[in-house]
């Protein structure tokens, strides 16, 4: 197995083992959705309207709580040194870590979305745009999150700091992702431009995040 594949495979295994964060993220996702529908109450018309944005916000929050661990776990047990030492190109390694985070957080969220959509009375026409927007947008969340997590890797209890740093960087993805699901829920075929902008945001994240993460890690290892 190549080094990058080994890193992804190891992180995914760890996430799904006892003590891993994958199920916690999905549980948190479901929790936010359920709490939201409890708060909104029986107004189904209102619920249908906000289901897409609620799913997006919940997915973003669930991603947020899992960011802290991306690099810190590796730093605490010393494996970050090994990963950095053996890396041919640190940006590629950072991209692999972000990919692993997506497989263990973003992908489970997407799989859970159809079920939670039922709870939220998500209109049938919105399932495709919501799922597509999550599929396009959550890799961006993982990439940007890996960068913010790399910035804070040397700090204890950095979850709040990571949230503050990541919030403005997540804003475009949330806007276009939720925008696509709103347009989809309204039955308009106009979610395509939102999905394109979402794709562009994720691609930009794919460009800067590995390089910036690598620079942040280097600065944090000193």
């Amino acid at each position: 197995m190549s080094a990058l594949a080994a890193i992804i495979w190891r992180d995914v295994r760890l996430a799904f083992r006892a003590g891993g964060g994958a199920l916690q993220a999905v549980a948190f996702f479901a929790l936010v959705v359920v709490l939201f529908s409890l708060a909104v109450g029986p107004d189904i018309a209102l619920m249908r309207k906000i289901a897409g944005p609620v799913l997006w916000t919940a997915a973003l929050l669930a991603t947020l709580i899992s960011l802290d661990q991306i690099w810190r776990a590796d730093r605490e047990d010393g494996s970050l040194d090994i990963i950095v030492e053996t890396s041919d190109a640190l940006p590629l390694t950072a991209a692999a870590k972000a990919a692993a985070h997506w497989f263990s957080t973003g992908l489970p969220l997407i799989i859970a979305t159809p079920i939670l959509g039922v709870i939220l009375n998500l209109p049938a026409s919105a399932y495709v745009p919501v799922l597509m927007s999550l599929a396009i947008g959550t890799p961006g969340l993982s990439l940007i999150g890996a960068f913010a997590s790399a910035l804070a890797v040397s700090l204890p209890r950095a979850n709040l700091l990571i949230s503050i740093i990541v919030a403005p960087l997540y804003a475009p993805i949330l806007i276009f992702g939720a925008g696509a699901s709103i347009a989809g829920a309204a039955g308009a075929a106009q979610y395509a431009p939102n999905l394109m902008l979402l794709g562009a945001a994720t691609l930009f994240a794919a460009l800067f995040s590995p390089i910036a993460s690598a620079a942040a890690l280097r600065s944090n290892l000193d």
């Binding site: 960068f147 040397s154 700090l155 700091l161 740093i165 403005p168 804003a171 800067f208």
Partner: protein, 256 residues
């Protein structure tokens, strides 16, 4: 004429700052008083907005400064990151709170203009949203500096964040052209010349000059404070720990 690297020497900077500061404060005071006088009393009401146009003289320069400060911060960060220059790091760090202040002022005055003019304090359109994001970028940058005790590491990490966040600046600038925005497009920096009447440009430019001078004065002062604080911290550190070096110890090896 002193070169950039000479000015970048902290002692020289101290001398320069001492010389420039009083002028910056003076210019800031004079232009602010004159600008506000023109803005509030000696300029015409707009043909559509009426007296509310006066908010613009506070709002537009603040919005410009918000972007100017962020750009300066990103450039200083890049200089500090690449050439490892502590003075650039300090400049970037101390620019952030000032920029955040201008951003907040722009958002605040914008809301006060938006309520009577548009009919809403706040709308989630591209320009307003991207400026709000700018404010959060400033806050995240400041939070990162604050969270990391080692100033050299903090400078490097904050610099990376500032450079990444710079993406937002062109988005702010062009948001009104790219999206159907409620916010009006550029009035001054445009290819076919300003669309603001001359009588209104006087207070506008006076206010811009005032903000620039204010920025200079505040930046110089806070940079001097930071440099003094760092010098004290360095003296503390030098007192409590020694630098070591590596020496050969011949005996141990020969025993075996």
């Amino acid at each position: 004429m002193a070169s950039i690297s000479e000015l970048a020497n902290p002692q020289r900077f101290e001398g320069l700052a001492q010389a420039v500061s009083p002028y910056a404060v003076g210019v800031a005071f004079i232009t602010l008083v004159a600008g506000l006088y023109y803005a509030l009393f000696n300029s015409p009401a707009d043909y559509q907005q009426g007296e509310s146009v006066r908010i613009m003289y506070v709002h537009v320069p603040a919005a410009w400064m918000a972007m100017f400060c962020y750009s300066s911060m990103a450039i200083a960060s890049a200089v500090g990151f690449i050439w490892k220059h502590p003075l650039a790091d300090v400049a970037a760090k101390e620019t952030a709170p000032i920029g955040a202040g201008f951003t907040f002022l722009a958002l605040f005055t914008g809301a006060f203009w938006g309520k009577p003019m548009w009919g809403a304090w706040w709308v989630w359109d591209a320009r307003l949203t991207s400026v709000l994001i700018l404010l959060f970028l400033y806050l995240g940058y400041m939070a990162l500096w604050q969270a990391i005790p080692d100033k050299i590491r903090a400078a490097r990490l904050a610099a990376i964040l500032a450079i990444v966040g710079f993406v937002n600046v062109p988005i702010i600038k062009f948001s009104v052209d790219w999206w159907n925005s409620l916010h009006q497009p550029a009035s001054i920096l445009r290819a076919d010349g300003p669309t603001i009447d001359g009588s209104m440009l006087t207070p506008l430019f006076l206010m811009i000059a005032a903000y620039m001078a204010l920025f200079t004065a505040m930046l110089l002062q806070s940079m001097r404070n930071e440099l003094v604080a760092r010098r004290v911290a360095r003296l503390d550190m030098a007192a409590d720990a020694a630098t070591s070096t590596l020496v050969e110890t011949p005996s141990a090896a020969s025993q075996s």
